[in-house]
């Protein structure tokens, strides 16, 4: 076997392939044999290891011996030189001097040769340089040679890093470690030896003198260090960029981010540790720092992007959830207790998961990145706010959002403003020990963000009220517009659309109730005329009208009462935004719907039975819708106004007996 050249199974051969060998073993040998083989391999390895150590030791010993010899030779030579110089006229001494000279020349050559050998270690080199200096070689020449040799070695290190960079077979920590132990240690060693050899020569001289003398040496070293560190930084920068742009590495995931952070941390620490070595090049430390900062900034951005897309996903999830759940806003719930319960819990679940995932994700990003307050947290919160408020635009992109989404987002913003923003912000501030003074001067304050969220929440809720109101309005409007009210039949039932309206309102109640508090209700029967208002301008009607009222229910008896009511209602309700409570939202929705009903009625002309149908419908609404609102008087007033308008628009206004109306409504 040993005779075959390219045998991959020969463990001592040059073309040995461990994987193939291993596979072969597994295939061919029994368990026992494999275990024996393992023991054998282990034993061999140990033997080889100790052999290697012995070899190294021996060589080292030889080396020390050699250096010692050389050193001794040099010392002896320098001592002998004076004598030789003094007696150089004597031919015998002349011979000795010539011999010595030749030997030392040879030695010098050998020592110089070290500069060109890549294998020579820094330590060997230092040794040689010292000897050469003693032998009177000019310092400038030695300095350049020393540095150019160091360049050779550092260049190797750098190209090694470059190779790794292209291979991409290690993670970034390994990479940084390799850089630190290879390149950085080397350059440190070079700087240290350089200092030792070339800068501490003039110990006897005064401080001033030494500085003056050393100035060219220092600047030479400075240039050298700068050149190499910069190329090192550029390699590291490239590596970091790869780490951050390579999506397959999932740098946003907690692991990737953590790795990057740790790597950058090590890199920075290492730089700080050696900072003392090259105090001469102040800005180098800064450019090293820049690498870290830049990476941090980029990381912030990528996290922000990730958070944004996560938020987008969350929204999609919620939208899907809304569509999937049978109790979505547009579909009327069955009205049963169970149906309502479902709506409640599903909405609440959606909201809870939305909040927790936003906060959790942001927090994870924070921890992972130890990110930047303004760049990440504040920007992301801003983003949430602006995405949410964009849904309130006149023509939101991607069609108008489903009303429950508006509701959830409104509650989300409110919750964020209530607590989560505080948690996130204080966490961020804590992590970065944000300076209090800075906080108040240049940074976005917490209250600012909270206020923003609160106003967005309000905007969203108003929009919710509006869109739910509009949906119900549409239904009412169609039902009024498409009917011939002049020639309709005597009403026997409540129109189906009224039941739909009540169902939809109940549905809205379930949605809102799941997320918002009940809210304050005004007790019935409180003084409706407490606002005294002088009726300067009459909307008095011709006396003949009064006969119309006499047939109407008691609320319509006097034409003054509705006027007072009107004043009251208009003043109270003049476009007040919906509050964050269930009754307030429902009041808004119902108000919009009933006002629509009113407007539609005013656009039609009614016959007797058309009017009576409206009477029945209004009564039905009165029975079933009052319980939803803040103030029942609002509903009473609007329904009265609807009936009054229907009477005005009626060619033959004869109202139905109240008892008949009631019995029709009870039948449903």
């Amino acid at each position: 076997m040993a005779g075959v050249d390219a045998n991959p199974y020969d463990i001592d051969g040059p073309s040995f392939k461990p994987d193939d060998f291993f596979q072969k073993l597994l295939k061919e040998c029994s368990l026992k044999q494999i275990m024996d083989k393992e023991n054998e391999v282990i034993k061999d390895t140990q033997t080889l290891h100790s052999e290697m150590q012995t070899l190294v030791y021996e060589n080292y010993n030889k080396f020390i011996l050699a250096t010692d010899t050389i050193r001794k030779a040099v010392r002896d030579y320098t001592r002998a030189q004076r004598v030789l110089e003094a007696y150089k006229d004597t031919p015998s001494f002349q011979g000795i001097q010539k011999d010595c000279h030749d030997i030392l020349e040879e030695l010098r050559e050998k020592l110089r040769a070290q500069f060109n050998s890549r294998e020579a270690s820094a330590r060997e080199l230092t040794e040689s340089v010292e000897l050469l200096l003693r032998l009177g070689e000019p310092s400038e020449v030695l300095r350049s040679k020393f540095l150019s040799h160091a360049t050779l070695r550092l260049h190797d290190q750098l190209s090694l890093l470059h190779e790794r960079l292209e291979l991409e077979d290690q993670d970034i920590i390994e990479f940084v470690d390799m850089g630190s132990s290879g390149f950085l240690s080397d350059i440190c060693l070079v700087v240290a030896s350089y200092n030792e050899i070339f800068l501490h020569k003039g110990k006897g001289e005064t401080e001033m003198n030494s500085k003056e003398n050393n100035a060219p040496a220092i600047s030479q070293l400075g240039a050298f260090v700068r050149e190499h560190m910069e190329s090192y930084f550029s390699v590291v920068k490239k590596r970091v960029l790869i780490e951050q742009t390579d999506t397959s590495r999932s740098n946003v995931g907690s692991r990737g981010g953590a790795l990057l952070v740790r790597a950058l941390d090590r890199f920075h620490r290492r730089l700080q540790a050696i900072d003392t070595l090259f105090t001469l090049e102040k800005d180098l430390a800064r450019s090293g720092m820049e690498v870290v900062l830049e990476a941090g900034h980029r990381q912030c951005l990528s996290h922000l992007e990730a958070l944004k897309s996560h938020f987008r996903e969350c929204l999609t999830q919620v939208r899907l959830g809304l569509v999937a759940s049978p109790s979505s806003g547009i579909m009327p719930g069955e009205g049963s207790q169970q149906g309502t319960g479902n709506i409640g819990s599903s909405l609440q679940d959606l909201l809870a998961s939305l909040i927790s995932s936003i906060v959790g994700k942001t927090r994870a990003a924070l921890q992972d990145l130890l990110g930047v307050r303004e760049g990440l947290v504040v920007s992301f919160l801003d983003h949430i706010a602006s995405v949410s408020s964009a849904l309130c635009a006149s023509q939101p992109k991607g069609g108008s959002p489903p009303p429950p989404l508006l509701l959830i987002l409104s509650k989300l913003c409110l919750e964020l403003a209530g607590s989560s923003v505080h948690v996130l912000m204080s966490e961020a501030d804590e992590f970065f020990a944000v300076d209090g003074k800075l906080l108040s001067e240049t940074l976005t304050s917490e209250t600012e963000i909270c206020n923003k969220f609160r106003s967005v929440a309000q905007q969203l809720l108003n929009n919710y009220v509006r869109s739910q109101g509009l949906a119900i309005s549409q239904m009412l409007r169609k039902s009024v517009e498409t009917r011939d009210w002049l020639h309709s039949l005597e009403p026997r039932t409540v129109r189906a659309v009224m039941k739909r309206v009540v169902e939809d309102v109940a549905n809205v109640e379930a949605q809102v109730g799941a997320l918002y508090e009940e809210g304050q209700r005004t007790k019935r029967g409180s003084d409706s005329s407490r606002r005294t208002y002088s009726v300067g301008v009459g909307r008095l009607r011709p006396g003949a009208r009064a006969t119309v009222w006499s047939g109407a229910p008691s609320q319509l008896d006097s034409s003054l009462a509705p006027n007072l009511q009107r004043l009251f209602y208009k003043r109270v309700d003049a476009f007040s935004p919906a509050e964050f409570s269930k009754v307030s939202v429902l009041t808004g929705v119902i108000k919009i719907s009933l006002e629509t009903f009113l407007e539609c009625v005013r656009l039609r002309t009614f016959g007797r039975y058309g009017l009576q149908q409206i009477q029945v419908d209004a009564r039905y609404l009165e029975l079933y819708i009052c319980r939803f609102v803040e103030d029942e008087r609002l509903v009473h007033f609007l329904l009265d106004e609807i009936l009054r308008s229907a009477i005005h628009r009626c060619l033959d206004h004869v109202l139905m007996e109240q008892s008949v109306v009631d019995s029709i409504c009870e039948r449903g």
């Binding site: 635009a393 011709p542 009107r566 629509t596 033959d652």
Partner: protein, 369 residues
């Protein structure tokens, strides 16, 4: 009884001429028009809606010196007025769309007619002189009936050509019908139902709007930049469109809390837009960003060296609500600028209240100075 009501319904709140004047009608009303041909007096027409009583046309004039209202009443016995417009060339010619109730009071139908306001021998501006009792009111002279029966049932509106007094367009169901009223407005005949040359822009825009907005209630064109138009509707939004790119509104506002029934550009200063709504409010909005005077009044070279004052003038006016008027207590279905005085406008609510208002002096100065 009615006499008393009628005679005392002129109310002038306060002495300040900035305060609104309120005029009460005894019937409900939703038709309002400015007297287009008039250039001196601020005068409006109002048509009433009553299914029981004889309907009226009120001619309401603002006496700017005494800051009071003068009115003349005419009978419109044909039916309740749903829409009114006035001739651009003749002060006394109006057209109405009205709902006529049949003899047996069991059906009704929409019609359109052109009328002349009769010359009354004695000027009845003085309060209490005329007998407002409907029996003695002068009737409008009926000039011609625009027979729309073959085009559809629902006559939505009838509007005069902006400059030609004898041409009128009716909107019946989904059709436009152009009438030539002929000599003395007496021989109305259909000129065409294909309005290609007449108001192509408007039709294109309306067609667009119908596609874009099912909820649209009213629209108006910017008088100075005709490719800008405003629409308003049941969704509570007022939207301003550039008809050259009608995919989305140039500006959109939702200041009202219910349907917006009417939107009107100021005839001179097109940054001023009035809207009226069934939330019983009238809102004056500034849309300087797409007006012909984005920097307030047009620049005058003479004023260029006036330093700070000049700079202030040049500062762009912000879009937004300039004023909200809440003198009404019922839905406001119509609002109109006066053609004679561009700072004056009237709004009419369903309960029969006509309010004549002015743009506040502060805003006025901001625009003209």
């Amino acid at each position: 009884m009615r006499q008393k009501i009628d005679g005392t319904e002129l109310v002038n709140i306060g002495m300040d001429s900035d305060s609104p004047l309120i005029y009460g009608l005894e019937f409900q009303a939703r038709a309002l028009a400015t007297q287009v041909a008039e250039t001196e007096a601020v005068r409006f027409f109002v048509g009433t809606q009553s299914l029981e009583f004889e309907n009226q046309i009120h001619v309401v004039e603002l006496d700017e010196k005494s800051n009071s209202i003068c009115k003349k009443l005419y009978l419109h016995s044909a039916g309740e007025v749903w829409h009114l417009s006035s001739s651009p060339t003749d002060n006394n010619i109006i057209s109405t769309c009205y709902n006529r109730i049949s003899e047996g009071r069991n059906s009704c139908s929409m019609h359109a007619s052109v009328w002349r306001i009769p010359e009354t021998p004695e000027d009845s501006t003085g309060n209490g002189i005329s007998d407002p009792c409907s029996a003695t009111l002068p009737s409008l002279d009926h000039l011609s009936l625009l027979d729309t029966s073959e085009y559809g049932k629902d006559v939505l509106c009838t509007v005069f050509h902006p400059t030609e007094g004898n041409r009128v367009v009716s909107v019946v169901d989904n059709q436009f019908i152009l009438w030539d009223l002929g000599e003395g407005y007496a021989s109305a005949k259909v000129e065409t139902t294909k309005l290609m040359n007449f108001t192509r822009n408007i039709i294109a825009a309306i067609t667009n709007l119908r596609i874009m907005f099912l909820f649209s209630r009213d629209l108006d064109f910017n008088p100075n930049r005709q490719y800008y138009m405003a629409s308003c509707g049941d969704d509570g939004w007022t939207k301003f469109w550039d008809v050259r790119s009608p995919t989305e509104p140039a500006v959109a506002r939702s200041d009202h809390s219910h349907w917006v029934w009417s939107v009107r550009y100021n005839p001179l200063h097109d940054q001023l837009v009035l809207t009226s709504s069934s939330d019983s409010r009238v809102i004056l909005t500034c849309v300087a960003s797409i007006s012909s005077e984005p920097y307030g009044h047009c620049m005058d070279d003479d004023f260029h060296d006036e330093g700070e004052e000049e700079k202030e003038k040049q500062s762009k006016m912000e879009d937004g609500v300039l004023a909200a008027y809440d003198e009404h207590e019922d839905s406001v279905y119509a609002v109109e600028w006066s053609t004679a005085n561009p700072w004056t406008f009237a709004s009419l609510s369903y309960d029969g209240r006509l309010v004549i208002n002015r743009v506040s002096r502060a805003e006025m100065y901001r625009i003209i100075l």
